[in-house]
Amino acid sequence: MASPAPTSITEVPVVDEPGTVNAPRSRKLSPVATYYLRRLGLYLITLWGSLSASFFFFRLMPGDPIGGIIAQLESKGQYSSIARSEELVLFYRREFGLDGSMLEQYIRYFERVVLHFDFGPSVLSYPTPATDLIVRALPWTLGLIGVSTILSWVIGVLLGTLVGWTRKSKISEWVTNVCLVLSHIPSFFVALFLIIWVSYKWGLLPANGAYDNRLSPGWDFEFILSVIRFGTLPVLASVLVGFAGWLIGTRALVVSILGEDFLTYANAKGLTPKRILLSYVLRNAWLPQIASLGIILGSVVNGNVLVERLFRYPGVGNLLVDSVGIKDVNTAQAVVTMFIVLVLTANLIIDLLLPLFDPRVKAAN
C-alpha cells in the first residue's frame, strides 16, 4: 500500500551497474541473455533463502507444535481416550515431519515441498492435506488480487499521466490531493466503510463470502454473475486505495519528464498534444510502472489478507487467519510458502518480460 514510487528496487541490473556486468563472459553472451541468466539466478537464490528462512521461522517458533496439534485434534473429539500417549506423539511427529534432527527435517522439507508441494496433513480439517485446502482457496485469492491489481494499475497509470500532463489545472490539483490521502488509507478501512454503507445501510451489494450459498459452483451464467456481485466490494476496497497510489507515482514520473528536451522537440516538430501525450509521455510513464508492479505485490497480498477476512472471502488469506487461530502449523506454513513463491515468481515474470517492452534494457551494456 506504500505508493508505488518510481524508485525501483529490483532495478534492471544492467542499468544499475553499467560496465560491471560479468565483464569477461558478456562478450560471448548477448546482454539480454546475461540479464536473463542473472535474473534467474537471483530468483533461485532468493527463493531458496526465503524458503529456508520460512522453514526455520516455523521450527523455532515458541511452543510445541505437536502439543498444539494433539490438543486441537482432541478438542475436535478425535482420539480423546488415548490422550497423549508416547506412541501418539511419535505418530504425529512422523506424520507432520517433525522427527529427526533439524538438518534431516530441513532436507526432507525441501524434498517434500519442492518435489511434491506436500506440506503434510492440515489440522483445520484433518486429515485433508494442507495443500488441498490451499488449492481450493487459491483461485479466489488469485482472482481478487489479479482483478484489483490490474484495475488499479490501468486506472492509476492512465489518470496519473493525465493529471501530470495537466498539472496546473485546479481539477488535477484536487484529484492529486484526494489521491494522496486515499493512498495512505489501509484497504481494510475502505472495506469496513463499504461493508457498513454500501452493503449494510444501502443494501446494494453483498459483503459476505464469494458467492450465493444457494447456488452450486459451476460454469453457469447465474453462478458467474453471483461471483461478480460478491466480488465487487472486495475488489473495490483494494482498487480505491491501489489506484490512488499508482496515480501519485505516475504523476511524479510524468512531471519529472515534462521539461525534457525530447518533448520540446516533439512539440517543435508540430506533433499534436494528443500524439505527444500518448506516444511520448504515457510511454515513459507506464514502462517504469510495470517494474514497480512486482515490488508492491507483496503489500497487495498483505492488504488482501485483511480484506478477505472482513468479507469472509474463502481465499488463502482467510485460510491463513483460520489456521493460525487453531495453531495449524502445516497449513500456515503452506500459505506462507505459497505467498512467497507467488510473489517472487510474479516478480521474475515481470522482470523477464521487461526487455520485451523496454528497449533500454536490451540496448544497455
Partner: protein, 286 residues
Amino acid sequence: MRAFVSLWQDSGKFKLGFIITAILVAVALLKQPLLALHLGDINPLREASFPIFLDPSREHPLGTDRFGRDVLGLVFVGLPTSLQVAFMAGGLSTVIGAVVGFVAGYKGGKVDTTLRTITDAFLVIPTLPLIIILAAYSRNLTSFQLALVLAAFSWPFAARTIRSQVLSLRERPYIELAKMTNMSDSQIIVQEVFPNMAPYVAIGFATASVGAAFSLVGLTVLGLAPSNQMDLGTLISLAWGWGVISLGKEWIFAAPVTLLILLFLGLALVQQGMEEFFNPRLRGQS
C-alpha cells in the same frame, strides 16, 4: 535545527504532516488529564460503568460499548498504546536499518550485494502473514516485544534509504581524507558519515514507522494484539466481533479509524516532505 526551520518553511507537506502527528502525540501524552477531565476517577477499562451501547450524547460523545465502557475513554487509552508501539517499532527498525544500511553502503562489494539482496527480498515478500503467525503463537508479548516483532520486518524500509545515501557520501573528498589519515572504519562512520546522515536517518525512521504502523494495525484489527492490550486496532476488532454493524452501532468504529488514518497520513506526509526537501531530484515534482 536550522534544517528543520527551512524544511518547515519550504515544505507544506512536512508542515501539515508534522502538525497532524504532533497533535496525535500531544493527545496521547495528555492521556491522564484528558481521562480525568472526561471520566473523573472512573477507570476507563472497568466494565459496567455505564449502560451498554448508549448512543453518542453530551456525556458520552462517542457512546458506550458492549461492556458499558465509555468509548471516548477507550480511545484515550488506546491512542497512546498504538502510537507507542508504532514509534517504538519505527525506532528499532531504524537502528537495525541504519546498521545494515551503513555497513552495506560503506563496505560495498560482496557485503553490499548480499545485504541488498536480503533487504530487497524482505521488501518484496509479503511479511504480514509472518507477523500474524508470530503474534498468534506468542500471545503473552509485552508491547516492547511486539514492537521488536514489527521491527524485524520493517527495518528494510530504513535500510534502503540510508544505504543509498551512504553510497553517495562515501565518494566525498573528506571521507577519502579520513581514510588516508588511517582512521578506522567505525571512527569514520561515527565521526564523518553519521553527522551528514541525520536527515536520512529521520526519513528512514518515518518510513519504517509507517510500515510498522500498517502491520500493527493489520495485526490488531485481526484481534491478535497481546492479550489485555487496549489499542485502537483492538477496539476496531472488538467492535467488529460484537457485530456492531448489524446492531446499528457502527459509530464505535468512527474515532479509532479516523485517528489511525490521521496517523498514517501524518507520518507519510512528514516522510514525503523530508524526502523531497533533502533529495533535490524529487523537488518540484509534486
